[in-house]
Amino acid sequence: MTRLWWTQIKAVIRLELKKTFFAKRGLWIYVVAALPVLLFIAYAVAMSHEQHRTTEIAREGERRLAYQDLLAIKPGMTKQEVTAVLGKPPLVFHWTERRPTGPNSTEEILHEDLHYSDGQNDLYLGLANGKVQSINIHEGYNLGEDAVMFAGVFQFFFLRLAIFFGCLGIFMNLFRGEVLDRSLHFYFLAPIRREVLMAGKFLAGLLATCTIFITSELLQTVAFLWHFNPQARDLYLYHNHGLEHAAVYVGVTFLACVGYGAFFLVAGMLFRNPIIPAAAVLIWEGINPFLPALLKQFSVIYYLKSLCPVEIPVSPGTPGLFALLISNADPVSPPLAIIGILVVALLALFVSSIQVRRMEINYTTE
């Protein structure tokens, strides 16, 4: 019997995948999934341009500098001392400022901005009357900052919006779409258990969403790493848990598809208008940080946030409510989070299995 069910599930998957991947009404899902990739590509292009500029400045400098050389400059050093360490600056801007010192007297101050580079990092020095007043080092690669930026895009756009709405578009349509197309009876006329049909449709939806969003996730990682030079890439991937993080992001993407997929599968059976459940779930997921501990557990984002590998730091000036959204005050351990999502998904699938048995073909009331 299990073998027969598996054969039937495969037949459902074959039919559904064709429809899901090539449905015109699902094109927007590809756009949503591609948005963060485009964002990281744009970021990588901008960073590459910046690096090219930095390299050019380094090349125009009198000496080949190391990062340690840039760090050697201290406030109060004279221009001669700076030049002795870093050589003649490749880029200099200067201007004169007249500052009043009394009723009829002014003081003339000569400002100079010196720009050095070691090929990766920029050093901006502000001099006034020949002495260093301000030092600003702009690091070409800041793995920590970039990882937080990636985590931010992942948590706030990819997870909460792209995957959320992508799953809505795909899973809600598994049954609802066919009711609207008046073609669901094709499945209901086959000698197949309704639960097996539901399982097949869910797996097809899962396969489709995972393919779309995991591909997007991997492309985001590639785009994100594109502008790093090979050394920085190795440093990030192998010494800074980058590879591990990438794997965790893929895993979280998969679990998000499982959780939201199960939610929207049942919603597609219970509601005619997808806007109502989508808004309800979006609000429920949004207010999750403010919910009591027990209710928090009936949410997908609660577990997903606990699984995200990079915590987004809350800066001191962040408003309280927003800080609560960012931080995960009550995280659960990864095994518990995975079990939690699977339990939530199984609960939703259980409700779906009851609902699918009750479904009738009555297109005229739709």
Binding site: E178, S183, F186, L189
Partner: protein
């Protein structure tokens, strides 16, 4: 294990709208036609029979199986619906093939069976075309193919002859008859009464969600007491025969047939009339044939339901 399709006090309501009410049926093998005007409950009855809708009240069994178990039910039931929508992007071949794969049939067997079924409905040439590009008649035939693909014991066909040309109609009717001859249960709904009359072993007449009559058409006719039975007698001297027949108290009306070679008479008791005919001395009147003139579906339909939406 019952060998019939059984409805026990079945009612179906769509909200406040009545689908069918208090239906009791026991359908034997052979061709059974569901006859009734639009909205009389034919499709609802078929959907109930195949589990596509669930009864609000009552019990349905198809050859001993409940209708809420599609996994077993559709092993021996094939349903060609009136729904004119198909899964998107499929060719005729893929439509049947996917259906057989859904049934759990191994892929090679499914492919072979698909071609055989497509051949049965004469769709080989169009099999590789998208169903969306089919004409109405072709869509009807491919739906029939889906219902027939797994050689079901029970064939439920909702208006199966709609959109078919005369040749295809006769082919399909032959197909239904062959299935019935093999002991299958063929349930057909139709508006086209003369076709129903030709192919049906028994009829179920529906009106406003109620079963008005069921059974073999002759026995249904004989139960309609308020309409006298009409009998057509072919003979050479109809006027003389009419005079003689009025001697019998069973004859209540007689009229000469339009061609002048027959007599159409009405009687309240056909059995007594036939007995009386045997005892009549006909004085050399040549009687060619005696046959009932209104024990067809059309007459029964008109007597019981009226002549709304009848296609003769």
């Amino acid at each position: 294990m019952s060998d019939r399709i059984i409805f026990e006090d079945v009612s179906k309501f769509y909200g406040e709208i009545l689908g069918v009410n208090r239906v009791n049926l026991s359908i034997p093998p052979g061709i059974t036609s569901l006859v009734g005007p639009n909205g009389s409950g034919k499709t609802t009855l078929m959907n109930l029979m195949t589990g596509l809708v669930k009864p609000s009240r009552g019990r349905i069994e198809v050859l001993g199986h409940p209708t809420d178990d599609p996994e077993n039910l559709f092993k021996f039931v094939g349903y060609s619906t009136q729904f004119d929508a198909f899964p998107k992007g499929l060719t005729g071949f893929q439509f049947i093939y996917s259906y057989l794969c859904l049934s759990g049939m191994p892929l090679q067997d499914a492919e072979r069976t698909t071609w055989q079924t497509i051949e049965r409905v004469n769709m080989v040439d169009a099999a590789s075309r998208k169903v969306a590009a089919y004409s109405k008649g072709m869509r009807q035939r491919i739906r029939l193919a889906q219902a027939l693909a797994h050689n079901p014991k029970v064939l439920v066909l909702d208006e199966p002859l709609n959109g078919l040309d005369p040749l295809a109609r006769s082919e399909m009717i032959a197909l239904f008859r062959a299935s019935a001859a093999e002991g299958c249960y063929v349930i057909i709904s139709s508006h086209i009464l003369h076709e129903v009359d030709v192919i049906s072993d028994q009829v179920i007449l529906l009106s406003n969600g109620y079963v008005v009559a069921e059974g073999q058409i002759q026995s249904v006719r004989s139960e309609i007491q308020e309409h006298p039975t009409q009998i057509l007698i072919r003979c050479d001297r109809p006027r003389e025969l009419a005079a003689k027949l009025f001697e019998s108290e069973t004859t209540i009306e007689a009229s000469i047939h339009n061609d002048g070679h027959g007599l159409l008479l009405k009687t309240r008791d056909a059995d007594r009339f036939y007995l009386a005919m045997n005892q009549l001395a006909l004085n050399g009147i040549q009687v060619e044939s005696i046959a009932p003139a209104d024990d067809d579906v059309l007459s029964v339909y008109e007597y019981l339901i009226g002549n709304e939406e009848v296609v003769r």
